[in-house]
């Protein structure tokens, strides 16, 4: 729980330092993101803010894993991605064959509490079982919907 609060404070500070205007200057584009798999859920939906040159993006994602894969797991993720190069497929279609980045994932599920139960002494298990940090490599296809917006499909 403490870690969640720290993340929240960090995000608050982040938005203070980078005021809305500055944020808009750095990330003038936005996108709706649909992602298949990638440890965030069977299907994950999100909203991204993207730099002018499409090199960097920050995405807030919500994913869900169906019961048939073991309980209903949901995840809330914040993801930072770097796109080293693009391939332009069409005027309105862009591909990022390789995308690198990091994301933090808070998982919620039937057997996934935010804290360890009281039955354990302090520090009995040293890891946080529901908050995870991932490094990732993925591919992405983006479609231009408006002049400002590319919508993403990641895998």
């Amino acid at each position: 729980m403490h870690k969640l609060i720290y993340i929240f404070i960090f995000l608050l500070n982040f938005t203070n330092v980078f005021s809305q205007k500055k944020l808009n200057d750095i990330f003038p584009k936005s996108a709706i993101t649909v992602q298949y798999a990638g440890s965030t859920g069977f299907i994950t939906l999100g909203y991204s803010i993207v730099t002018r040159n499409d090199k960097f993006e920050i995405t807030l994602l919500y994913g869900k894993t169906p019961r048939s894969f073991g309980g209903v797991n949901r995840s809330l993720n914040i993801k930072g991605a770097y796109n080293p190069f693009h391939l332009i497929i069409k005027n309105n279609c862009l591909s990022d064959p390789i995308q690198l980045g990091i994301f933090m994932s808070q998982n919620f599920g039937e057997n996934l509490g935010l804290n360890w139960s009281n039955k354990y002494p302090n520090g009995y298990y040293w890891w946080n079982r529901s908050l995870r940090t991932h490094f990732f490599v993925s591919s992405q296809i983006s479609y231009l919907l408006t002049k400002k917006r590319f919508d993403k499909i990641s895998g």
Binding site: I32, Y36, A37, G38, S39, T40, G41, F42, G63, T65, P66, S68, F69, G70, G71, N73, S75, K90, N92, C93, N107, G109, N111, L112, S117, K119, Y120, Y125, W127, R129, R132, I141, Y143, L145, T146, R149, D151, I153, G155
Partner: protein, 281 residues
């Protein structure tokens, strides 16, 4: 959101999405993709299941042709010691006349699926059958659902060459010391068996440890001591070797190193006598 969706449709982008969807179809459901670290089934659905039962059948197949000595290699916690486990498997494969290998709980560290698949890849290279018992770390995620899918029941037993091996769950703390782990009724029932000459217990947490249900420690050791032919109780959890008649009765209590300690226990059961050797790897 609604407006965005409408724009999406108006601009005919759904047809533009088709190539991307078509590209994804061949890889959907492939094990290279993980939906969640906590999933209990692989993405393709194919995974090892019921391994303990399969291995018991393999052990029993050798019984008619084998001598009456039972030789067992027994190790504690494998957790994240993948490289050492590989060394251990290589060593065990060089040893002759070993009947089976026991991994005494904490197979995985975080209890998540990918760890079990990595461990399975190593164990599967053993030339002899192997049996696993559940540890507290195996219960830390999904309440042991992955362990039971891959290995089978938490409590199981089998007879082999006159010995009855009782594999059971002693991870009391994981059940908030609710009086059901170990399952005393199951254990008592197993000891009412006239076929075996001797009994051997196998579980993760030793009864004198703080993670064992304190209310069950006395009945547990008393039950074992009440059976004159109960030879030994094998455990892991402590990551080190110990060997004593802890409660001063005839039952021997032993713990084995965890896998990273590079030394494993070999036990030979000969007519109710036990010869113990430590084997480095």
């Amino acid at each position: 959101m609604k407006n965005l969706c409408l724009k999406f449709i108006k601009k005919g982008s759904i047809s533009a999405l088709l190539p991307a969807i078509l590209l994804l179809i061949p890889v959907i459901g492939c094990d290279k993709f993980e939906y969640s670290p906590y999933q209990t089934t692989t993405t393709s659905g194919s995974m090892p299941v019921n391994l303990n039962n399969i291995n018991i059948q393999k052990i029993k197949l050798t019984e008619p042709n084998a001598d009456d000595t039972v030789t067992v290699i027994y190790s504690g916690d494998s957790q994240r010691f993948y490289d050492r486990l590989e060394d251990l498997v290589t060593k065990v494969n060089t040893l002759k006349n070993v009947d089976f290998f026991i991994l005494c709980g904490d197979i995985a560290d975080f209890g998540i699926l990918q760890e079990y698949l990595w461990i399975y890849d190593k164990l599967d290279k053993l030339n002899i059958p192997y049996l696993c018992v559940i540890g507290n770390h195996d219960l830390a995620a999904n309440n042991g659902e992955i362990f039971t899918k891959i290995f089978g029941e938490k409590n199981y037993s089998f007879n082999y060459k006159g010995y009855k091996f009782l594999f059971h769950d002693t991870n009391g703390r994981e059940y908030n010391f609710n009086g059901n782990a170990p399952n005393m009724w199951w254990l008592a029932d197993q000891l009412i068996d006239s076929i075996p000459n001797w009994f051997v217990g196998v579980s993760h947490v030793p009864p004198y440890d703080l993670d064992f249900d304190k209310n069950l420690e006395y009945p547990y050791k008393k039950l074992f001591a009440s059976e004159p032919n109960f030879l030994i109780s094998l455990h892991g959890h402590l990551h080190g070797t110990s060997d004593s008649f802890y409660y001063g009765d005839h039952v021997r209590y032993m713990t084995s190193n965890s896998v990273q300690k590079e030394e494993v226990v070999m036990l030979q059961f000969i007519n109710g006598q036990i010869i113990k050797n430590l084997i480095p790897y």
